[in-house]
Structure formats: C-alpha cells, structure tokens
Symmetry: C2
Subunit: 229 residues, 2 copies
DNA sequence: CCAAAAGTGTTACTCCTACACCCATGT
DNA sequence: ACATGGGTGTAGGAGTAACACTTTTGG
C-alpha cells in the first residue's frame, strides 16, 4: 500500500542519544549502520515516526527495537531539520536523549541484527549524518541540566556511594569537585537518604550506600533546584 | 501534482509564539482562523514545513507571511506530536518562540487576509488545537531563560531606561523587583552602556537612556550568565 | 603496619537582600 | 511649591570556596 499527499512532506524520524556510565567514563550507545547511506559507520539509534504515534513513543519503540533498552529516562532534546542533513531526501529528526544505568540494563538483549556498542564520549568514532552535532547538543544539555535538575541520578544503581555520585558529576561536568563541599551540598538537598548498607569487597574502608528519596526527587525534578557544585 | 510515499507520514508544521511588550503587559500575537477546524478561533501563527526548507526558515517565512514580522529573535521551543492534537490527521508541529519590540515592528503590515492581534498573557482567549499548552511551555521557557541569558533585551527599543528593563523583568517573572538591587546587578554585568541621552516629555526628572553593549551581549548569550534577579 | 579511600569542620570571602532618602523636572 | 518618578549606599546574613587530618578496612 502506498500513500498520496497533495503536497510533498519531509520524512520524520527520531534519534536517541543514550548516555551510560561505567567506572571510567561517560558513554554513548551507537549502532553500526547496515544500509545506505553511511553503511558500516556508527550512528545514533533511531527510526521513522509512525502515523498515529507520538514522537516520544516512537523514540522508546525504536530504542527497544534496536538496543533492547526500555523503561528508562528519556526526554526530547531538539529537532534537527536542515534539508542537507540526509543525502537521500529531506529528513527532519526529533532528537531525544536518554540516561541509563549500565549495571541494571543490558544492551546485549538487542533483537535487531545490527551491531550496538558503547563508546566513551572522549573516544568517539566518526558518526553518520549530522549525529556528531546532535551528540554535542545532547552533551551540552546534560551538562546544563544536572545543575538545576537531579537527573544525573538516573545513571547510577539504586544504591550508590557518595563518591560514585561525585564521580558522575565530575565526568559530566569534566572537572574535579571538592569532596567535603560536594557531600555537604548533596546531603543538604535531602534528596538522598543513607542506608545501613556498605560497599563490599573493597580493599579499604567500605563506603556507606545511599539511595534517593523518591518523593523529594520527584518534587525537585519538577520544580528545579540549584545545584551549582 | 501529488506525491506518493511507501509509508504514510505525519504532516509537519511550525507554530510560533510571538511575545511583545507594551507599557502594561507581556503580549502574544494570535491569528484568527478562517479555515476548518476551529474556524473563527484564535491560534498561534504557523504553517507547513516545505520540503527542502529548514524548520527555522519555515517559522520565519510563515511569520512574515501571516504577520509581516521579519528579522526578529526566534528560537526553537519544543516539538509537539501527540496524534490527537489535530482532529484531521496526525500533525507534528515544531513550536518556536519569538521576541519583538512593539515600537520598532508593526504587525499591521500583514499581507494575509486573516486577522492578527495582540493579547495580554493575562487575558487570553480560548485557543485552537493544543496551542494553550504550547503557549504555556513558551512562557515557562521565557521565564527560565531570562535568568541565564540576556534575551529579554530583544523586547525593548534600542535605547531604553533601566526602569523599562526592570518593568520587563517584572512582567516576565510576574513579581516585583527591588530598584536598587536591579540596577546594581544590571550595571555589574556591563551588558548595558549609558548614553548621554534622556527620556523626553515626561512630567518628572528624565531618566537616562541606555543601550546594549553588543559585544558583551553576544558573548553572554553564548556562554550564559547568572541573572538571578 | 601499610595502603587506600572514607569521612569530617572551620574560616574567609563573596554575593544577595532589605531598606529610605534626596534629586531633577514639569506643571 | 508640589507631584512624580530618577537615582543612590550600607549593613547583615547566607551561601560558596578553600583547605588537612583522622578513621576504617583489607592485605
């Protein structure tokens, strides 16, 4: 079946910048292209928006189809629509960004034949289309956003040490933070609660584990906060 | 001529929330619809994105066609694409917002037969489609943005008094500000320069006129600043 | 007992906030 | 001379930034 319109329409897609965190680096999830153009190059996961489907739903669907990731933090980023960005035709893409905790989500579950892999944001391959630009905008957004909304927590496991949280902020903001001031600031927000559990199997004093206060977290995500670490 | 695609595509439009400022209120520019659906209701200016045209260009073109406004500050806001937002078919719209100085731009120049008018944001009519929601998001964005980027200046004439600037901030943020602290803060940014001109024809001491320092303005627009008035 | 990271307070400084009076101009 | 808004300074408080040592644990 084919579809006819009175006027031509740009194609509409979604692309998703998925950020993850390992011990070393902030990472991005990329897909190896198997079709033209840019065959064999790495690209952001994404695909067409179906008629009758919201862009947000399309982003979640594509992400699950291509990488197996579901039920993660996902937000709209920006819409890119310069006519030259896809050599085949005019394709407008609604870019999103997502945050996942690598310990609790496994990307190998991908049902798609295509190759998916994590790359450090400090060591990225050349990307297809204008995806480098999209990634840059996503990173800028992430950096700006952690300063006034507690979204960074989405990248950590449910229970985490304050050092892990600090490390996350250091990776995102790309600078070192003072340990004492950081702890004071985080605890002052009351967004984390201490547990009675501790790290295991470390060759030094074990750090206390904390978890989010979901009620405070939700309130602060809506209202915003000032976290000028 | 008609156009056939293998898969159906959502329609793609732009809508623009144009903010203006008069002595009393923050205003929004609306268009009276003359076609179905929502005939006779007020709506945001906007229209279809042509193939081969960037969304940004489409927004500028539609704005000029419908209201005569050109060469104004315009930025992408958010893309709205819930399938139910237009009763005819699935229409995805890339919403933008624009800021204009009402003294230097005249909306009567509209070449389009449709009726265009300014409305106070405190006294809005019922809007077509999901345009009330778009307007709300635009207003939230404007409020958030004036705190860290000097975009509010776009709403003022080239030369203005500090009282006008303060009034603008009070209208956008919807609260009163302290005159002395506001002046200190603005002058400390060095984004405005004093001129040797003064207000005319006022029945009291004439206020000094200021203008932007364009170099500082551009730098701060890019880098952001903290303007927690 | 050594290595490694956890955990903890104080001080100086900067920035923000609150607040009231005199000045210049036109009528 | 009076009415109207223009223009100015200071003091107290809050928050930020800089900084070093002791504690706990495993090997």
């Amino acid at each position: 079946m084919s579809h006819t319109y009175r006027y031509p329409r740009p194609a509409l897609t979604v692309d998703i910048v998925v950020f993850g965190l390992d011990a070393e680096d902030l990472q991005v999830l990329l897909i190896e292209r198997d079709g033209k153009p840019f065959r064999g190059q790495w690209a952001l996961p994404g695909g067409f928006v179906d008629v009758g489907e919201s862009p947000d739903d399309a982003a979640r669907r594509e992400l699950e189809e291509e990488t197996g990731l579901s039920e993660i933090f996902l937000e709209q980023l920006y819409t890119f629509g310069n006519p030259g960005r896809d050599p085949r035709e005019h394709v407008v893409t609604i870019a999103h960004y997502a945050l996942v905790n690598l310990n609790e989500h496994d990307v190998k579950a991908s049902s798609d034949a295509r190759n998916a892999a994590w790359f450090s944001i400090n060591d990225l391959p050349k990307l297809a289309f204008d995806h480098s630009e999209i990634l840059k905008v996503a990173l800028d957004r992430l950096r700006a956003k952690v300063r006034y909304q507690p979204i960074g927590f989405e990248l950590l496991p449910k229970k985490f040490t304050l050092r892990q949280l600090q490390h996350l902020y250091e990776l995102i903001l790309d600078r070192e933070l003072d340990k004492r001031n950081f702890r004071k600031k985080v605890l002052a927000t009351e967004i984390v609660k201490e547990t009675n559990q501790f790290e295991k199997d470390v060759a030094h004093r074990a750090a206390r584990l904390y978890r989010f206060d979901q009620r405070k977290y939700d309130r602060m995500t809506k209202q915003g906060f000032n976290f000028e670490v």
